[in-house]
Symmetry: C2
Subunit: 256 residues, 2 copies
DNA sequence: TAGTGGTCTAGACCACCAA
DNA sequence: TGGTGGTCTAGACCACTAC
């Protein structure tokens, strides 16, 4: 521990800014296991005294490591090495629900409901769900956890005709839809990446600005009607989506 | 402009930290169009003087907006409102090359080569490509641009038996492979999100820590042999991947 | 209550860019 | 060369947490 914060070796021959040098030292200590998940770092004022740097500079070094998820800071408490998160993989070619997906790999699933209710639709919901004037939407908003670790935020919108009583959804939305013969058989997803905002980052237990996978899904019934419009945010550090691709048909491919 | 940086109105009744208040003012000015893409902000020292805040506080406000891609800072030059980037969409179910994909939507494509050559394989390349002892790999590393905007970094690895002369690849790798009857017909991709590091962020022209889509692709020949192992990083703010999902077969779905 | 991280200041020097 | 952002300092007060 003392070696990490020793004043010797700083600013030798163009090693870059001091805060980056300190950042590198801490990152290496975490990578090499000298600092382990859950370990606490010395208070900022102590790190400053030990290294001979100012507290502002120490904070700037720590800031970067918090941003990349390697450290966690708790006001009034201290600075700690972050717990590691196991990376999960999901086959993206199959239309499955989160609950089923996790069950298949033997993970527990918990939903923390943020809200369940009937509302007036937002313009994008009217568009996506093809609602008529006066139609209302059921909204389900929850944080998905597995083994206690938050993995995703899910915001689902359905016409009230599909789901009149959203309060009655417990673990799996798709199970409820299946019982009503309203389970989608086809869906179109759009995937992109985004830096998480303050609220979403807090819900997922990651620093503000961390990378998240944003997935928008529109699910269809066999007759082509839209059932669900779901916007999800997955933790970038905890989730992999796997896709299998096939060669495009000749007609498509040769198309200039 | 003056209104944005007027000293009045700061710190009224629990509006939060000063740097966030200033950040909000600037973000609102950008959102409302009072500050337009390309516009320059006053120098940090001037903003500090105008608002009555310290330069450190002004910098902290600007820092957040640079991180979220709304502002761009150029050392020795100034601080500017970022250009907006049009979001593209790619159908993920078809195996197409970047070149073909862009041509289909009428976009120009430029490749900036970072390196092309034959190397000793890294362990992950040996794994992914199924190389034998002594086999060497062709590596292609380039930045993909469309209409002058960098969209992705692509790092492709292929066995030298598949691509003996990587220097000869110009616009499209798949076109070269097709000529050699080595074009993949199937591929498996893994998609995740990650915050971009310094080097990758610079190559894509986004701030360090911006969200990127990381895509790892392994491409197969009809006989099952692996052709390519490609790792790409797409700008999160410029790319959407679209996927169509189908209902999983009963046997799969019922599997606990 | 003592200690922690969060915010803020005034002032300084450096590295880079454009004229 | 003058102006810009980038780094760094010493010192201060606040808000929260744990005891």
């Amino acid at each position: 521990m003392d070696r990490i914060f020793a004043p010797e070796g700083f600013d030798e021959a163009g090693a870059g800014p001091l805060y980056l040098q300190l950042q590198r030292r801490i990152a290496e200590a975490v990578a090499s296991g000298r600092l382990r998940p859950g370990d606490s770092l010395p208070p900022e004022r102590d790190m400053a005294a030990l290294t001979g740097l100012s507290r502002v500079t120490v904070r700037k070094a720590v800031e970067g490591l918090v941003g990349s998820g390697q450290l966690v800071q708790k006001r009034g408490s201290g600075t700690f090495v972050a717990q590691r998160v196991e990376r999960l993989e999901q086959a993206l070619s199959l239309l499955t629900s989160f609950t089923e997906d996790m069950a298949r790999r033997g993970k527990s699933v918990e939903s923390v409901w943020l809200s369940r209710g009937v509302h007036s639709p937002a313009p994008e919901e009217v568009m996506a769900l093809g609602l008529g004037a006066g139609d209302r939407v059921a909204r389900l908003e929850r944080v998905r956890r597995s083994d206690g670790v938050p993995l995703a935020i899910e915001r689902a919108s359905l016409s009230v005709q599909v789901l009149p009583e959203p309060e009655k959804v417990e673990a799996s939305l798709y199970a409820v839809l299946e019982a009503r013969a309203m389970r989608p058989v086809r869906a179109v997803q759009r995937i992109s990446a985004a830096n998480l905002g303050a609220r979403d980052a807090e819900l997922l237990g990651v620093p503000v600005g961390a990378a998240g996978l944003r997935i928008e899904r529109i699910g269809y019934l066999p007759d082509g009607r839209v059932v669900e419009f779901t916007r999800s945010l997955y933790r970038g550090d905890a989730y992999d989506f796997a896709v299998e691709l096939k060669l495009a048909p000749e007609t498509e491919r040769k198309d200039p």
